[in-house]
């Protein structure tokens, strides 16, 4: 992994509609090419954290941000989302709200068109993302006829035409079925593996988080409580559960076996569990 991509230091944030701080002194760093998954119960501040990194809070969403937040050396709180063109792209949880255009091509061309790039560059970027994510089969379709997973894939592709260095995913699979989740998960893995994107994701689904994350961060009540690589973090089952995060099924089973006196390591992924138990 490369240099520093995202740096937050002693970050506080709140929305204008409330006097309570949603983030309370968050400090973290994300390196280039790293995938960080932020977990925690609803209302713990996961999405707020992403909105700040995306430059949306306080620029689009009224609120107050205190502390240091920078992406690629740019002061996000000062420059806002307009200062992050080509650096940060964000995908939200509801695929229905993110597919706006009347055709898949128009949807993909939207960001570079909005940025006023020359026509040939818009076309070149659309062709790149179509090839990169194998979207050719969707081009002739009406975006409204796509499944939830396909719409979310389209939303990710649309953001990628911005050529961001950092991709933010705000619970991208929370509204998707199993098939849709798999589609999005495969895409994220591809982006990480082939294109070395820095990815920050807020996520509830622990099984997919441990599949793709380099590092997991557990938040509770606006603070970072735990942080570490998936294997290390979920070996602390009790601690993780204390902060409202359910460990992966494989870890839970191993933890219960341990409590019953069986000497076993705690795997986090199903494939690790199968290997550990010789299955």
């Amino acid at each position: 992994m490369g240099g520093l991509s995202v740096r937050l230091r002693d970050l506080y944030a709140r929305y204008s509609v409330s006097a309570d701080w949603v983030l309370k002194g968050i400090s973290l760093e994300v390196r280039e090419g790293e995938m960080l998954v932020v977990m925690g119960p609803s209302g713990c501040g996961k999405s707020t954290l992403l909105y700040i990194v995306a430059g949306l809070l306080p620029w689009v969403i009224p609120g107050v941000v205190k502390g240091e937040a920078s992406v690629g050396g740019i002061d996000v709180a000062k420059e806002g989302y307009r200062g992050l063109v080509g650096r940060v792209g964000i995908v939200f949880q509801n695929p229905e709200m993110q597919v706006i255009a009347q055709s898949v091509y128009e949807e993909l061309a939207m960001v570079p068109e909005n940025l006023g790039l020359p026509k040939n560059e818009v076309i070149e970027r659309v062709e790149w993302v179509v090839n990169a994510l194998d979207l050719g089969k969707y081009l002739a379709k009406n975006p409204q006829s796509l499944s939830g997973g396909e719409k979310q894939l389209l939303a990710i592709a649309s953001v990628l035409t911005m050529r961001p260095k950092v991709l933010l995913l705000d619970e991208p699979t929370s509204m998707l079925d199993h098939r849709g989740t798999r589609l999005v998960l495969d895409t994220i893995s591809l982006l990480k593996r082939e294109y070395g994107l820095t990815i920050m994701a807020a996520e509830h689904r622990v099984e997919w988080a441990v599949e793709v994350a380099d590092r997991i961060l557990v938040m509770h009540d606006g603070r970072v409580m735990l942080e570490g690589e998936p294997e290390e973090l979920f070996s602390r089952v009790e601690e993780v559960e204390k902060y409202g995060v359910r460990p992966p099924g494989a870890s839970e089973v191993a933890y219960e076996l341990r409590r019953a006196g069986v000497k076993t390591p705690i795997p986090v992924r199903l494939r690790d569990a199968l290997r550990v138990y010789g299955l």
């Binding site: 995306a54 949306l56 620029w59 689009v60 969403i61 989302y81 307009r82 063109v85 792209g89 964000i90 939200f92 509801n94 229905e96 709200m97 993110q98 597919v99 706006i100 255009a101 009347q102 091509y105 128009e106 061309a109 939207m110 960001v111 570079p112 068109e113 909005n114 940025l115 006023g116 790039l117 020359p118 026509k119 818009v122 076309i123 409204q144 649309s158 953001v159 911005m162």
Partner: protein, 258 residues
């Protein structure tokens, strides 16, 4: 989400340059204003718009809805305007205090055409033009891009609003809300459980949409359009014919003895 009023078809109107269609719409508006006091002079404008409606290939359901609303509006207009002109001209119908004269009918129909023709013309424009090209047209006309964007998005959200309204009504009906029972005032009061959640839902949708649009840099500056319509000979011919036809009708309307 932003499907707009656009109906995908391959018709004469769909193939026309959006600028020509918009100019045609304004010509309809001008001709309707010029002929508003005489239904005979306004009739060619109305007929031309009905023909355009058929040529734009909009769905039968949408056409039926337009026609139904038109007839309800026609009755309302006749009652108001014919009543105002009841002392002018020759009576054609007298029902108690209600007196319908030939002048009253002519003015009422003229006023009806004045409202309905531009409405139908704009319906033709929006059903045959993609929101993408509506925005392009407004940009080309020199409107600030943010305004073009705001206008296009608000217009494009209309079907979503209708869909949301239907969904909220269905949900409230399953909870026992009976909108078709009771006195008019009671029926009106029964709409409160629809309006409140509908507004809450629309606000939430608009909020989500604004986040998506901001993160996609909508309204960032001068926009590029990959799909730009090209002005063809057909466009020029259509515009010329429209100018001659509506210009002629407008002159006929402005000069009483023309």
């Amino acid at each position: 989400m932003l499907t707009g009023l656009y109906v995908p078809k391959d018709t004469l109107f769909h193939r026309l340059d959006p600028r020509v269609k918009l100019l045609w719409t304004f010509l309809v508006l001008v001709a309707s204003i010029a002929t508003q006091f005489n239904c005979i002079k306004g009739a060619p404008v109305f007929l031309s718009v009905v023909v355009a409606l058929a040529l734009s290939g909009i769905g039968a359901g949408f056409a039926a809805l337009l026609i139904f609303n038109m007839s309800a509006f026609l009755i309302a207009v006749i009652l108001v305007w014919a009543g105002m002109y009841s002392s002018h001209g020759v009576p054609v119908l007298e029902l108690g205090v209600f007196r319908l004269t030939d002048v009253g009918v002519s003015v009422a129909l003229g006023k009806f055409f004045l409202i309905i023709c531009p409405v139908l013309a704009f319906a033709v424009f929006f059903t045959s033009t993609k929101p993408y090209h509506v925005m392009w047209t407004l940009d080309k006309l020199g409107l600030p891009h943010k305004l073009s964007l705001a206008f296009t998005i608000s217009l494009s959200m209309l079907p979503s609003i209708v869909k949301s309204t239907r969904e909220v009504i269905e949900v409230q009906k399953t909870r026992g809300l009976a909108l078709d029972r009771g006195w008019p005032l009671e029926r009106l009061r029964k709409h409160i459980p629809i309006i409140v959640p509908l507004i809450a839902r629309l606000l939430s949708d608009v909020w989500d949409l604004s986040m998506v649009l901001a993160s996609r840099y909508a309204g960032y500056g001068r926009r590029t359009y990959v799909f730009e319509p090209k002005w063809s000979r057909g466009d020029s011919a259509f515009l010329l014919l429209s100018l001659l036809f509506y210009g002629g009708v407008a002159l006929w309307g402005v000069f009483p003895y023309a």
